[in-house]
């Protein structure tokens, strides 16, 4: 093996010697792979050793040594995820190599590792890329595939700057028929989307490729337009290309090309419905005759997504979907069948309904992808009318599925049922029992959402409360549920419901027993606190009904048992370390001791008016109706006049800091619920949220939440005079009630407050559309296609737009074309075709609204 000549120059003797050694004993990529394979256990050490070798070798002056080092580095970077950013400059050094092999290595390394976001040196490649791109025209000796290397690099690692510099070099590659043409087309798409300012230069040659003789070029060009018109881009600017693409659709023999053409049409037809009547015929032909499943699939998708008004096509497509669904031996086709079936909703639910059985069956498929699609279809075909049937089936299926899929099912049931204030739900009694059924599914991890909905429904739907209390009771009395930490929130919600709506309870004593059962010690503090608070509510209710003798629910012995049970079980908790629990326990015990006297006085009620008074007041307190709180409620609350929000609260920290710190140490997750509804202090502090009080901010940060927790289901919104009383203020003529009138079975009223959600959604949608309109790419393309005289247009562009002005009448345009083609000069022919095209899509005006006439000829 001959040694490459070491470079003497300025390098030290030592380094040239080491470089010589590197060259002589350099390990090749194969050697590296072999050593990695021979000892997989010491892979990291082998890699780090060779990385340090590479770092040395890559600095070698010998191009061969350098290129082998780069090759090894590329391998390690690509398959062992080691950054090769340090070698960016060396890669650039090798790009101009005269050896095609080294050049290829360098380009591969560059295209795998370069990116404008990470490679600062990228601009240095500009000149070399330009040279290689144009090499075909300048020297014929260089190997003919050379320009394909920079095309790859350009499409993978280009920056807007690089794109705009090199765009002119792509034009000859685009316009000359050669094996490189398709590659140039594919690269052009990337350049265009990266750098919209290249549109005046590149767009016309790209459009011309649609009518190329080379089917691969046509395919690549249709593919490029398919990408350009893909969301989130605005497809509108490509509307004038419809005639060209239609020609491809009827003439092309390649399924690949046809598929892409169909994809473009499926984006254009919604913009110009008359296009549908043109393309429906070839599509039906494909649907009937094509043997290629991929093409048939694309036809189905196109018909379903944008030709649903064409009955014949729809019928064919639905037949084909059923065919796909029934292909038992090919799971791929069944998967795609379900996918297209899902696209039919909501317009053609009857077709979905016919396949309901297949869909339900697919939920049990061993293939997860098929299950997903089936679930999606199932949810798509769930309406008010069949929601009970569908959801029951899904929840039953969830109980049988593996944990992951079970939770997915639960998630979609919960999401779609709660959408738009439970629009799908007609029978809330059924829905709340479904919620509890979901909570009981073994792997259910959706406790948070279930509890949220339970409380939410309790607040919003008055009529469902008796059933809700029944469901809550069932959850509470089941000791086995207390061991499942996913359910703590559900249990907490159930406890809150039982306390809040205790008047619907059939047996308050049983409720107290359930709330105080021994296993409640397993609950986290927050849930426990809710439990104890609920006991207080139940007790107050019981005492009150005992005093008033309203109903025979509560008698002497019940009250006595209840009091002693509470005292016995809750008593020890006064020593609880959890402030939240301790606080409530003390409240509860205070009430217990107070009412303990009632028992003694039962025979003589008039005697101790004080106690009766207290019990009645407390019951009044708890029986105040609660409703959902509008997200905007806080804003509506006016700040009391005598409240100075700017007042410094620094002195507050003095008495907070001490026990606060202790608490946060013992239990960092402690939550402060707005416990006292009658505390005016609380109300006064509430509005300080608006003010930027830094000490308060810090305090809140320290404790996570304060005053108004985000999910306030377990808390009571303050019902003081400062706040709007949500239920009362709700106008009965809420616009949405009208929508539900058509339901035959009376659906209970659902209180809705924040209809703003819809508003925000639609406004974001509209801004998205606006953003698409402002998209520089589509703007530039509109300029070119509609012949708008853009300010930044190049001279080439100006010329063509003026030629469009001249060639307004058809005959003249044709004359120009024929005359030019007679001349036989390729460049001129190219120009002529361009004019021809322009004449075909004349745009009298720049306005978007007037784009429709652009393809008038084609449509008629």
């Amino acid at each position: 093996m001959a040694s490459p000549p070491p470079l003497p120059s300025s390098t030290s003797v030592l380094s040239s010697a080491s470089s010589l050694a590197d060259s002589l004993f350099q390990r090749s990529l194969d050697d590296l792979i072999k050593s990695l394979r021979s000892d997989p256990s010491s892979e990291p050490s082998i890699i780090s050793r060779s990385l340090s070798e590479i770092r040395r070798e890559i600095r070698s002056a010998d191009p061969l040594t350098k290129s082998i080092a780069l090759q090894k580095l590329t391998y390690l970077s690509s398959l062992h995820f080691h950054s090769m950013s340090f070698a960016a400059f060396h890669t650039l050094e090798l790009l101009p190599s005269p050896s095609p092999q080294t050049k290829r290595l360098a380009y591969l390394a560059a295209s795998l590792s370069f990116h404008p976001s990470t490679t600062d040196l990228l601009p240095l490649a500009t000149h070399q890329l330009h040279k290689d791109l144009t090499s075909l025209s300048t020297s014929s000796s260089s190997f003919p595939f050379l320009p394909s290397l920079p095309l790859h690099l350009l499409s993978l690692a280009s920056s807007p700057d690089l794109s705009s510099h090199l765009a002119p070099d792509l034009v000859p590659l685009l316009s000359r028929p050669s094996p490189l043409q398709p590659k140039a087309v594919a690269a052009t798409y990337r350049v265009l989307s990266l750098c919209p300012s290249t549109v005046p230069v590149l767009f016309k040659p790209l459009v011309d490729c649609l009518s190329s003789d080379n089917p691969l070029t046509v395919s690549a060009a249709v593919g490029a337009f398919c990408e350009l018109s893909a969301p989130p881009n605005d497809p509108a600017p490509y509307l004038p290309l419809a005639p060209e693409i239609y020609r491809v659709l009827v003439n092309s023999r390649s399924n690949w090309t046809l598929i892409k053409a169909l994809k473009i049409f499926s984006r254009l037809v919604p913009l110009e419905p008359r296009l549908g009547t043109r393309i429906v015929e070839p599509i039906c032909k494909f649907l009937r005759e094509s043997q290629a499943k991929s093409l048939v699939l694309e036809c189905i998708k196109t018909v379903v997504s944008c030709l649903s008004t064409h009955t014949e096509a729809m019928r064919l497509a639905i037949d084909k979907i059923k065919e796909l669904l029934s292909s038992d031996d090919d799971p791929n086709l069944r998967y795609l069948g379900l996918q297209t079936l899902g696209m039919l909703a909501p317009g053609h639910l009857w077709a979905l309904e016919e396949s309901r059985e297949v869909v339900a069956q697919s939920l049990t498929d061993p293939d997860r992808s098929i299950c997903h699609e089936a679930l999606r279809v199932m949810m798509a075909m769930t309406l008010q009318a069949n929601s009970i049937e569908s959801c029951t089936l899904l929840v039953r299926q969830a109980a049988k599925s593996d944990p992951e899929f079970a939770n997915e099912i639960l998630d979609s049931v919960l999401t779609s049922c709660s959408k738009d204030f439970y629009e799908l739900v007609v029978d809330f009694d059924w829905y709340v029992s479904l919620l509890s059924e979901m909570a009981r599914i073994v792997h259910c991890t959706k406790g948070d959402e279930i509890s949220r909905q339970l409380v939410d429904i309790g607040l919003r739907v008055r009529d469902v409360r008796p059933e809700l209390v029944r469901v809550a009771r069932e959850l509470l009395i089941d000791p086995s549920l207390l061991g499942n930490h996913f359910l703590y929130n559900v249990l907490s919600a159930a406890a809150w419901i039982s306390g809040e709506y205790v008047e619907f309870s059939k047996d308050p004593m049983e409720l107290v027993e359930a709330l105080l059962q021994p296993r409640t010690s397993l609950l986290p503090t927050s849930a426990r606190a809710v439990y104890i608070q609920s006991v207080l509510k139940v007790l107050t209710f019981s005492c009150n009904s005992y005093i008033n003798e309203s109903g025979s629910l509560v008698n002497d012995s019940v009250i006595a048992r209840m009091l002693s049970l509470i005292e016995m079980t809750v008593g020890p908790l006064t020593e609880s370390e959890e402030a939240e629990v301790e606080d409530r326990v003390r409240n509860l015990l205070g009430v217990v001791r107070l009412v303990a006297n009632i028992k003694d006085l039962s025979g003589d009620k008039g005697k101790d008016g004080m106690i009766y008074e207290v019990v009645r007041v407390m019951d009044d307190l708890f029986s105040d109706e609660m409703g959902p709180v509008s997200a905007n409620a806080q804003k509506k609350a006016s700040v009391p006049e005598d409240l100075d929000l700017k007042e410094n609260l620094a002195d507050l920290s003095e008495f907070i800091s001490g026990d606060d710190a202790a608490m946060s140490r013992s239990n960092p997750s402690i939550l402060f619920y707005p416990q006292s509804r009658n505390s005016s202090e609380e109300v006064e502090v509430g509005p300080t949220r608006v003010a930027e009080s830094t000490s308060l901010e810090e305090h809140r940060k320290r404790h996570g939440l304060y005053y108004l927790s985000a999910d306030k289901e377990t808390t009571e919104p303050e019902l003081t005079e400062d706040y709007p009383r949500v239920n009362e203020t709700l106008p009965p003529s809420n616009g949405d009630t009208a929508r539900r009138v058509k339901v035959t079975k009376p659906r209970p009223t659902v209180v809705k407050l924040d209809e703003g959600e819809d508003l925000t959604a639609s406004s974001s949608r509209s801004t998205k559309v606006e953003a698409a309109k402002d998209d520089p790419l589509s703007g530039a393309i509109k300029d070119v296609l509609l012949g708008r005289e853009g300010k930044g247009a190049s001279s080439d562009f100006d010329a063509s737009s003026s030629s469009q002005g001249k060639g307004k009448d058809k005959v003249k345009g044709k004359e120009i074309k024929s005359k030019k083609s007679e001349e036989g000069e390729s460049k001129d022919r190219h120009k002529g075709r361009r004019k021809h095209k322009h004449r075909k899509e004349p745009a009298p005006s720049v306005s978007v609204a007037q784009e429709t006439p652009v393809i008038q000829d084609f449509l008629l």
């Binding site: 995820f81 290829r104 591969l108 095309l151 893909a230």
Partner: protein, 166 residues
């Protein structure tokens, strides 16, 4: 467009990775791990499609083929047709098969550069440019021939020229 082409062994080792949207190495590793996790859990004889929303973004999917000890995986978005992508995997496998005469994992391991050459003849920047495996092979052979003829004059370590000469 096609977002990525991946060949991953059934042991979870990447054998060929090409991302058509730049991904830094750490992200690549994460993607490979995710894809391998998603595929290795799937039983045989199920469909070849898997959702990939969480790694490649909304509406993207993986199509894969399990061949002996390899998963050949293409990631694509809504601008591609699912069955066409399945076809493309077939074209890729066929080309490898013709190129290496009954391709096996070892061929893939030792022909890093050649694999990229083959792939580059098939896909450019996420766009399919050639679907005929014979044509792809012709181009690859042309490239190899040119490189070989130029490398005979220079002195290249045996192993490399051998790889390129194949």
């Amino acid at each position: 467009m096609i977002r990525a082409v991946m060949v991953i062994s059934t042991q979870g080792k990447p054998r060929l990775l090409k991302f058509y949207e730049f991904q830094p190495p750490e992200k690549q590793q994460e993607i490979v791990r995710y894809v391998y996790g998603a595929l290795s859990g799937r039983p045989d004889h199920v469909s070849n499609f898997v959702d990939a929303d969480s790694v490649f973004g909304q509406g993207t999917r993986l199509v894969y083929k399990h061949m002996a000890t390899l998963y050949i995986v293409f990631a694509f978005d809504s601008s591609e047709n699912e069955l066409a992508m399945l076809d493309l995997i077939q074209v890729f496998v066929q080309t490898l098969d013709k190129c290496f005469k009954n391709v096996c994992e070892l061929d893939i391991i030792f022909n890093f550069n050649k694999l990229h050459t083959i792939l580059d003849e098939m896909i450019l920047g996420g766009q399919v440019i050639e679907t005929n495996s014979d044509q792809i092979l012709n181009h690859v052979d042309d490239v190899a021939r040119i490189e070989k003829s130029s490398s005979t004059t220079s002195l290249v370590p045996k192993s490399i020229s051998a790889r390129f000469g194949r």
